[in-house]
């Protein structure tokens, strides 16, 4: 019995350590964003919302936040559309060289963002496209299309093929099948791909840094803020970024996956 109790304590300790390892840095960041004083270091003297006020009073930061939001929402929509079309094409049509093409469309998932960003920078330079938010958006479409493709592709199975057959059999054209049946049917995984893509774009730094010039995204703005030294304002803006990501993940978990799993179980 005591051995068992000891074992339980051991397990609990291990779990505590593991989660501490993952979350302690973030918790520290969030905690010191509520610091009253000028330095995000112990001892904690708060809580205070003054640094959050400072963040939202900072025109450059709020502009960057808006930029990030716009880039994330639009680039993800495009990445999702392209990913869906590619997944549909590969799943439903016999294409020459489908195998290698499929590998090539997912391969960028394994390539570092630095390499992709650098490549885009060089290419845009040669093509005479100047660094801008548009360039960042294109970069994010490049990194997120493979992700969307991979997520949507796994949910396109044989069962869905039969459902599409049924739709065609009842008189629907190929376009009608795709927009009235396939896309709505895959909505859970399309939405999941979209939200994941949004969080990736929202957090992404290297490509945004390399490809933007005057209008920048939030991570790039935070970076330039960090260069002038630590202060609780950076903690506050970091917390905002973190909470936004958490919110998206929670939406995904509760709205999309819940519904999807209940449908699956039925």
């Amino acid at each position: 019995m005591t051995r068992r109790a000891l074992g339980n304590v051991g397990v609990a300790g291990y779990v505590l350590l593991l989660y501490g390892f993952i979350y302690l840095p973030v918790m520290t960041l969030v905690l010191f964003s509520f610091q009253e004083g000028r330095f995000p270091i112990p001892p904690f003297n708060g809580p205070s919302l003054r640094w959050y006020e400072a963040v939202f009073a900072d025109g450059k930061l709020t502009a960057a936040l808006t930029n990030s939001l716009v880039v994330a929402l639009l680039s993800s929509a495009l990445a999702c559309l392209l990913g869906f079309l590619a997944a549909y094409g590969f799943a439903r049509y016999r294409l020459p060289g489908a195998g290698p093409l499929k590998v090539m469309i997912t391969a960028p998932l394994t390539v570092s963002y630095l390499i992709i960003g650098f490549g885009l920078l060089v290419t845009f330079n040669m093509a005479g496209i100047s660094r801008s938010l548009w360039a960042v958006g294109i970069g994010h479409v490049v990194i997120n299309t493979p992700l969307c493709f991979a997520i949507i592709t796994v949910s396109l199975g044989e069962h869905q093929r039969n459902i599409e057959r049924a739709a065609r059999d009842l008189g629907a054209s190929d376009w009608q099948v795709m927009w009235r049946v396939t896309a709505p049917m895959l909505l859970p995984s399309i939405v999941a791909a979209y939200f994941l893509s949004v969080t990736f774009s929202w957090d992404e730094f290297i490509i945004a840094f390399l490809l933007s010039r005057f209008d920048v995204t939030l991570p790039v703005e935070i970076w330039s803020l960090l260069r002038s030294g630590l202060n609780p304002k950076t903690n506050a803006v970091g917390s905002v970024v973190f909470l936004a990501s958490v919110a998206v993940v929670l939406i995904l978990e509760f709205v999309v996956f819940r519904r999807y799993s209940s449908r699956r179980a039925a």
Binding site: N162, R168, D169, L170, Q176
Partner: protein, 365 residues
């Protein structure tokens, strides 16, 4: 609303595999036809060719008087009910049923009237706003049927639609299918590997094996006087004895078997012309065996196969099933069904008699 279906010389090759080898078959308008056979016999392939999902390697398909080769599934007067129902998961029951009429530009009022009528017919009027995942298996099956009938096809194709249901529900749905088919009068072509299901619903059974039609006809004909050994075995349990044809007269065929010389009515050899010396198989079904002491028929109306030893027996409710070792062999080889009131224990001896009118002869293939 209904049409005749004709296959002419349909052949289908998948790579080096001959899935279908020259199928000729006509199904009359308004008939309930069942394609029956083991998995891989080509029955589903034939159905998919009729639906237009598979283009046959050779041969022609006619629906009514129209040649269908090259006509895509959507433009054929057929609809298919798939094995997994293939309902649209994101649409309500009503929207599922309305999908076909909408795609075919049926005026909204007319489409709505159809949907209401079909919902009432399949007893789902209360479930019209539910999504498919909220329904039971039997209800989903009914939705699939209503959705398929909503486009008013001439021919409805059913691809093992009852395969996923448990036994009780399956029997109930068989009855409903048959009933609805009579009501709408549409030609139904139904694929299954379950011979009991086939007999329960079919006007005509088409027995298939290895890409060919073995037999086709009414359920009783195919069961009682099957055309081939395969068909005989597939339709139900079968006892077989090798039999060499002795004399053939206008009324009688006599055969030599291990059980002695037996005289059968000429009609026992239904599908072929028996020749003296020909090797045939004498077949009879377990329920065609007569118990000892059954004197409801005179002795000359039964074939006497000698005294058998009971090896196993079990009570099946509707009958007593016995495994018998015949006098000419030590090994158990005969299955017989006796009336439920009979008592037979392993080791008992009983005289095996078979109804003379029921036994049949088939040529060795």
């Amino acid at each position: 609303m209904t049409a005749r279906v004709e296959f002419r010389g349909i052949a289908q090759r998948f790579g080096t595999f001959d899935a279908l080898g020259g199928i000729d078959l006509t199904v009359e308008a308004g008939e309930f036809a069942v394609l029956l056979g083991p998995s891989g016999c080509g029955k589903t392939t034939l159905l998919m060719i009729l639906a237009g999902f598979i283009v046959p390697t050779r041969g022609e398909v006619f629906i009514g008087d129209r040649q269908m080769n090259g006509v895509p599934p959507a433009r054929r007067p057929t609809t298919t009910m798939f094995q997994d129902y293939a309902l649209f998961p994101h649409m309500s029951v009503r929207a599922n049923i309305l999908f076909g009429p909408k795609m075919q530009h049926v005026p909204a009022a007319e489409a709505k009237a159809r949907a209401d009528r079909l919902l009432a017919m399949v007893n789902l009027a209360d479930a019209a706003t539910k999504k498919p995942h909220e329904l039971s298996g039997g209800q989903r099956q009914r939705v699939a049927l209503a959705r398929a009938l909503a486009v008013e096809p001439d021919v409805l194709l059913l691809d093992e639609p009852l395969g996923a249901l448990d036994l009780g529900l399956r029997k109930q749905m068989q009855q409903e299918l048959k009933h609805i088919q009579r009501e709408v009068g549409t030609t139904f072509i139904h694929v299954t590997h379950d011979q009991e299901e086939a007999m329960a619903i079919a006007d005509r059974i088409v027995v298939m094996n290895q890409g060919r039609i073995e037999d086709h006809g009414s359920p009783d004909r195919v069961y009682l006087r099957p055309a081939t050994l395969f068909s005989a075995g597939f339709m139900g349990e079968l006892n077989r004895l090798e039999a060499e044809v002795g004399d053939v007269s206008a009324e009688l065929v006599s055969v030599d078997t291990v059980a002695g010389k037996l005289a059968l009515p000429r009609t026992a050899a239904a599908g072929f012309d028996p020749q003296v010396g020909q090797h045939t198989i004498l077949c009879f079904r377990p329920e065609q065996c007569r118990p000892d002491g059954d004197d409801s028929h005179a002795d000359h109306e039964a074939l006497d196969l000698g005294e058998c030893r009971v090896v196993e027996s079990a009570f099946f409710g509707t009958h007593l099933r016995a495994l018998l070792a015949p006098p000419w062999a030590e090994a158990p080889g005969i299955v017989a069904h006796f009336p439920q009131r009979d008592v037979l224990k392993p080791g008992d001896r009983t005289t095996l008699r078979v109804s003379r009118d029921a036994a049949f002869l088939l040529p060795v293939s």
